[in-house]
Symmetry: C2
């Protein structure tokens, strides 16, 4: 009996100590947040405006300007303070599509699914005629086309490799996959996922593409048609030219659904004449400035209100759809998190600020410049006063999937903190904390200057297969229950970060980059 | 020792008897067919011509006329005899698309993925302006739109229900599924898969749709836009009007990719003004005749050469793609089977005839009229002389998937015959014989007059999800290895049917239908 007593006491003591050391969680507030976010969600309404109503939000486009205006106004209506469209510097030329039509007319009529590549110019009205296949595996192959392409439409040969898949487009993380992430050890952040051979191959391909473009330009071709990766009428889009104010002129160019592109290519390879008619009208904007949208819930603790917690997501998208999962989803989740916090009446100790970034898709320009303007220059590592004041930045930009946990971004000290904050959301599927980094988006701008910047682990759904940068990244790709869950978790993370006695522990400050590199 | 001897002898004897009763299989010929069909296949080349080169092959269209010409010529080049384009009677109006463009211009520019519904007329040039949402759950709901739709574009509200799927689009039969089919008992052929309630509901919906169409027509709307089932830029197409020479006039109507349709609908439901611009140009042909293409390998047995074995597949398709799996696949497989038989130099006892049917999609018109012209009238069951001469008709029209076995179509007597003929193809995945029927296509025309008409069990692949009747039923959906396998198996079945001492056992002759029903 005595032995059992001692064991019980020891057990109680260890539980107590563990509890005493644990990061505090305001379960009452968590419940309020859940109730507001799950019972009275507005995340789908916000997403509807960002996607269907506002449309594509390419950097510098009218669509992104509308999104800036609308989000600023919406955040103001929700009674956030200091809502503003904040210039971050010079982006470059805005660009909008005013007409996009292309069809095959010979050997028979077939309207073709395609979009102009971003930042490419208009055709000279309606262009009609034969299309010529240009095959070039090396620069010298171009010589045979010299003098033959003037005013002609050109299809640049690529391997259109469309294979029927027997796997689902959409998936969620399995418990095993999540367990593996939790058990993972850090990966050196400098390591690239590409081998040197693949990098060299990639560069060679890009160089050849540039040579081909230049050749077609010099030869005076009328329009270029190229292959949009993807299938079933879904295709991935990209830019076809620089948005720089002094960008070299390029030809009008369309990216086409692979099934339609490949049909024209197969016909041309079989020496069967194909005629195309097309009309592209695009417009360049004169305002070269880039913008972010910001708004705040001011802090209330006399000592801490000058400190900051930030949430953000990029508002810009690609141009062929409405950027629903990339990244109206993240923007709507972050806006909803702010709305929830206001609705439940938080009085945060630190100020909570939302930033909706511009020009993420062209290289995280909005967030990088914001960080440079407000916190630190990653080149010189000269710090501005606010660098000391930011506790954390949270980002959502991995699509519509619900949150399954969080990436520590190499900051092991925060594991018990994030574990504690996730604990109330275990029944909603979010409990995994991994030391791993995740890349490719705006939290990197903060991480680059030693500020704690985080992204969440999100279920992939059909991000890579169907939505990310495609012409089918539309409202219907959004998973309502997932977005609600994400907004609730983000709101809770932000709240706890704002209420914590201490700012979040930081990693070591990075060293300044050598001058001239980037 | 003696006991074992007796057992061995008994075993040998039973094997011998089983063998002796078995349907003979010419394994040497099977090997030749496999070699020709697998090593020197032309099935993909044939499919390329039928799809990419010839294009959509809607009944009565220029595309189907090109397909008729090309297949007749190709079969002639392969040295088949009596290759001919054979009229089967009056089909109705042919119809081709000459221009198809539609875009949203307000609240922002977005080209929309859509096709005119088959047999709908042209717009009056370019039509631009507001689009109006017409919501009607019953006829009376239409009253509110009276006088408001003149020259307007109209979107007819439907439930656009696009759900992300976590299942693969494409699949093959599992061993368990095949075993179940083999073990199945006959299903009464008259049983419908729809409950009376569902049939009533379906009819009510169709009646409402007709009322709406008539109302829009009377009100003088300019264009109708409706929802094409499907997702990711894949949508299912259909006819929007009758092809009858005296068909009632209808409005120009487009079927739109669900993502694009639903976006416009959501905007209109939210009272946000949407403007559309569209231009549709379609053309009706004056030749009302329907055609099939036929060709033969003549029989060589003095007594049997007037008897027939037939293979067939429908050559017509829907109009928004090139009808690759529905049914260039089946046409190419049947043509390839004939090519293989010629190439291996068969001297069939019975005549082997291929028929490539027209107008299957509108109700098996080509095959039904062929049967009526050559074999029997299913209404009266009055038989023509050739009715006695056809041993079997084999059809392929379930997409690109390889053959996994054959449907007995209720004719149990043929199970051992088909099992024997399939035996050499077990290692290629085809061994299942099921008593089950399969419906929906041209073998039914033969079955209806008591002639043995069969279809094969084929792997589904993505037939229901992505290809069948969609705008993405294109060349890339074709599975090369599957089509080769199918052609080889069909060639072998046809060969053995042509060489057999007896014609295939028939089911009981159907009774004549009551006059006036159909």
């Amino acid at each position: 009996m005595r032995k059992i007593h001692i064991i019980l006491i020891a057990f109680w003591l260890s539980s107590y100590l563990a509890y005493a050391q644990q990061e505090p969680v305001d379960l009452q507030m968590v419940e309020k947040i859940k109730e507001e976010g799950l019972q009275r969600s507005q995340v789908m309404k916000t997403a509807f405006y960002l996607t269907d109503v506002i449309g594509p939000r390419l950097s510098g486009s009218d669509g992104l300007k509308r999104a800036n205006e609308w989000t600023r106004q919406q955040l103001t209506e929700w009674k956030l303070e200091k809502a503003a469209i904040e210039p971050w510097g010079q982006f470059g030329k805005g660009w909008d599509i005013e007409k996009s039509y292309v069809a095959m007319t010979v050997p028979y009529y077939q309207p073709l699914i395609a979009s102009p590549k971003a930042w490419t110019p208009s055709t000279n009205g309606i262009v009609k005629g034969k299309i010529i296949l240009v095959k070039a595996e090396k620069e010298e192959d171009l010589a045979q086309y010299k003098g033959k392409l003037k005013d002609k439409m050109v299809l640049v040969q690529t391997a259109a490799n469309i294979k029927t898949t027997f796997e689902a487009d959409a998936k969620r993380y399995t418990d095993e996959e999540l367990a593996k992430m939790v058990a993972a050890t850090p990966i050196a952040s400098s390591s690239s996922s590409m081998s040197p051979e693949r990098i060299a191959e990639y560069r060679a391909r890009r160089a050849l593409r540039e040579k081909i473009s230049q050749f077609l330009q010099e030869e005076g071709a009328a329009v270029v048609i190229s292959n949009g990766r993807g299938m079933h009428g879904t295709y991935f889009t990209s830019n076809g030219a620089s948005y720089a104010p002094d960008a070299k002129p390029v030809l009008p160019e369309m990216e086409m659904a692979a099934e339609h592109y490949a049909r024209v290519q197969r016909l041309l390879e079989a020496q069967i004449e194909v005629e195309i008619e097309t009309e592209i009208k695009t417009r360049f904007n004169t305002d070269l400035t880039g913008y972010n949208v910001v708004a705040e819930i001011p802090g209330t603790d006399k000592k801490l209100k000058n400190e900051l917690v930030m949430v953000g997501a990029h508002l810009d998208s690609w141009h062929a759809a409405t950027g629903a999962t990339d990244n109206a989803a993240g923007s709507a989740v972050m806006m909803e998190a702010m709305r929830i916090l206001k609705a439940v009446g938080v009085k945060p100790r630190r100020t909570i600020r939302i930033a909706l970034w511009g020009s993420e898709e062209q290289g995280l320009h909005g967030s990088r410049n914001y960080v440079k303007n407000h916190f630190a220059d990653p080149e010189t590592m000269s710090l501005l006063p606010d660098h000391a004041k930011l506790s954390a930045y949270y980002n959502v930009d991995n699509g519509t999937g619900k949150i399954r946990g969080v990436y520590l971004q190499g900051n092991e000290a925060l594991r018990p903190v994030f574990e504690a904050w996730l604990a109330p959301f275990k029944d909603m599927g979010a409990s995994s904390v991994t030391i791993r980094n995740t890349g490719g988006t705006d939290h990197l701008a903060f991480d680059a200057v030693g500020l704690p910047g985080f992204q969440f682990i999100q279920d992939e759904i059909d991000y890579s297969t169907r939505t990310h940068h495609t012409n089918m990244d539309t409202y219907e790709r959004l998973q309502e229950e997932d977005l609600k869950q994400a907004a609730v978790i983000v709101a809770s993370f932000v709240y706890h970060t704002a209420m914590r006695d201490q700012k979040l522990t930081r990693k070591e400050l990075p060293v300044a980059k050598a001058a001239g590199t980037n």
